[in-house]
């Protein structure tokens, strides 16, 4: 239960390997859900860089998902681009458009802090939603855009399991890259900013620039998630850019445990299970989703990943008095 950091890496690797081994035998519906959870996990991890490591609670992370997804859909339907080997170009473009959008949005948002940051990211997210909903000639408005099919390059991604492996690959790549990022001196200084921005500024760090770069990186990974999302569902509509998607992403991070990366992935799994699986089984699923929100906030401040530490603390408290007796 209580693992060293090396042990944790092994645990994550084992879980992913088991997932990869089991999927070919799972029903196509389960494969779809797991793939969806992995894509949202990338989005949640990108948000964790902001929320968990830098202390910036963005209420508009869905915007980058939307930018990546709409770019993919528009290129595929209008220019017939990205459905062969050019898919890899679209992946790069999707990351770039997410990063570029974040670079623009960051100019407005990074100046703000606390409640203002929440509000400004909400407003920026709503700008993207407004365009996707209303800019009919470009986005297809409320109906969205249907993508003709998944890319084929040597392998055909049409199969659910094949696409799952592709997404799993991107997920692992994202996890490794973000892990290296947060362990790097840059990542350490982000944590320093989260803990005490003023001290970091006194130490000579350009904290604005650090936050700005983190914001752009998070946007890039959000864009990547968007590209993968577009091809998973074959349709891109304003539904993915709504406020609820951004709020859900925040919940994933807070539920899993902010500042842990894999916590966001865990949270994504729980939210997808509630929203996309349970909603097909019971009509009252939203009580559970709402309940998870409320209970997480009231009783799980460190998220699911914080549970072992809490148990440890609790045990130490229990053991404490006895040890004193022995002495």
């Amino acid at each position: 239960m209580f693992l060293s950091s090396r042990g944790k890496i092994w645990a994550v690797a084992v879980v992913l390997l088991v997932l990869a081994a089991v999927m070919p035998f799972a029903s196509s519906y389960i494969v779809l859900l797991v793939t969806q959870a992995l894509i949202l996990a990338i989005l949640a991890m990108s948000l964790d860089i902001l929320l968990g490591f830098t202390g910036l609670p963005s209420l508009g992370q869905a915007a980058y998902l939307g930018m990546g997804a709409y770019l993919t859909a528009i290129l595929a339907t209008r220019y017939d681009f990205g459905l062969g080997w050019s898919f890899w170009v679209v992946v790069v473009l999707g990351i770039l458009i997410g990063a570029a959008t974040a670079a623009l949005f960051g100019l407005f948002a990074i100046r703000a802090a606390g409640v203002s940051f929440l509000m400004i990211t909400l407003a920026l997210g709503m700008c993207v939603w407004g365009l996707s909903y209303r800019w009919n000639s470009m986005t297809g408005g409320d109906n969205g855009i249907n993508i003709p099919g998944r890319p084929v390059f040597g392998i055909d991604l049409a199969g659910g399991v094949t696409y799952f492996y592709l997404v799993l690959g991107f997920f692992v790549m994202s996890l490794v890259m973000l892990y290296i990022l947060v362990k790097s001196p840059f990542g350490r200084s982000l944590v320093g900013i989260r803990e005490r921005e003023l001290r970091m500024r006194i130490l000579g760090y350009n904290t604005w620039l650090h936050k700005y770069v983190a914001f752009i990186i998070a946007g890039g990974f959000g864009g990547l998630a968007g590209v993968l999302w577009a091809h998973l569902n074959g349709i891109v509509s304003p539904q993915i850019v709504v406020l609820a998607t951004s709020v859900d992403a925040l919940l994933m991070v807070v539920l899993g445990g902010p500042g842990t990366l894999v916590g966001g992935a865990l949270g994504a799994g729980v939210v997808v299970f509630l929203r996309d699986y349970l909603s097909t089984v019971v009509p009252w699923w939203q009580y559970l989703l709402g309940g998870v929100y409320v209970l997480t906030i009231l009783y799980l401040p460190g998220g699911l990943m914080g549970i072992p530490a809490r148990i440890r603390r609790w045990r130490a408290q229990q053991a404490g008095p006895q040890r004193e007796k022995k002495l």
Partner: protein
């Protein structure tokens, strides 16, 4: 596009703004006094509409439905504040997620109780016709919305500026620590403000129900627009909420009429600019 077009659009924008004022005045008070980003506020609006439908179904009285719905929603808000939000203290992110959780719970409850169909609140005959002013046909209901907003705005202004309770609230907005220092029970002020905010949202829901309808999803549709009003006007300022409502109401109407493809963008982009350039909004205090 003659004068008539502009006049009609302006009238429509002002009447929509009047509805927004009912929703945003409560939100801005909650925001200003308690610094709570209340994402349940749209759900209060929706619940107000649904409760009114039930009251009308039971008693047949639309006039009775307005106060009853607003009071029921006020009680819901009061309980939420006392039992849950109080415990959190000042943590914006956790407040946001908690209020979203409640918004989802309310959504599901509304679906279970009132079903998923879109419904309309039918106002009395008097408000269903239209009147001719200077050659323009103006729907009575829109005039009623404007009148309601004016009356509510006047009452709120009197409450805030002329009463002892109002002075305490203003003190809590400006500097809650100082207010506590001079013996103001800010906890009770918060409770009162939250209940008042919910009351206004419920009232807005009833009035809005005769105009927008009452349907699942309305809560999260109207919520960001209310936030745009609050941000543009300035958190905690009633004057700001009034001016912000007019600006957003007009921007929404003219945006949809003139530049339909970017109409929502024209609503949220000003919100971004104001937050970036003057975070206190047009009328908010430092």
């Amino acid at each position: 596009m003659d004068t008539r077009f502009w006049l009609i659009q302006a009238f429509n924008g002002i009447s929509y703004g009047a509805l927004l004022f009912l929703l945003a005045s409560g939100l801005t008070l909650i925001f200003g006094v308690m610094r709570i980003v209340n994402l349940s506020h749209g759900a209060y609006f929706l619940l107000g509409g649904y409760v009114a439908l039930s009251v009308i179904a039971a008693t047949g009285s639309w006039v009775l439905a307005i106060p009853v719905a607003a009071l029921v929603v006020a009680v819901i808000g009061l309980v939420m504040e006392r039992v849950f939000l109080r415990r959190l203290g000042f943590e914006p992110l956790r407040q946001v997620l908690l209020t979203v959780g409640f918004a989802y719970l309310f959504q599901q409850a509304a679906l279970d109780i009132w079903g998923g169909d879109s419904k309309d609140i039918i106002p009395p005959d008097l408000l269903r016709g239209s009147t001719v002013v200077g050659g323009l046909h103006l729907p009575m209901y829109r005039i009623f919305m404007i009148a309601t907003a004016v009356v509510v705005g006047a009452i709120l202004w009197l409450l805030m500026e002329k009463t002892r309770a109002g002075a305490m609230i203003r003190a809590a907005v400006d500097d809650s620590e100082m207010a506590r220092g001079v013996g103001i029970d800010t906890s009770r002020v918060s409770m009162f403000i939250f209940a008042l905010g919910a009351f206004l949202a419920g009232l807005g829901g009833v009035v809005g129900g005769g105009f927008l309808g009452v349907y699942p999803g309305l809560d999260f549709e109207i919520l960001p627009i209310a936030f745009a009003v609050v941000i543009i006007g300035g958190m905690g300022s009633l004057t700001g909420a009034a001016v912000g409502s007019l600006i957003v109401g007009l921007a929404d109407n003219f945006g949809k009429a003139l530049f339909p493809e970017v109409s929502y963008f024209t609503l949220y982009a000003p919100m971004v600019l104001i937050l970036a350039l003057k975070p206190t909004g047009l009328f908010g205090r430092e």
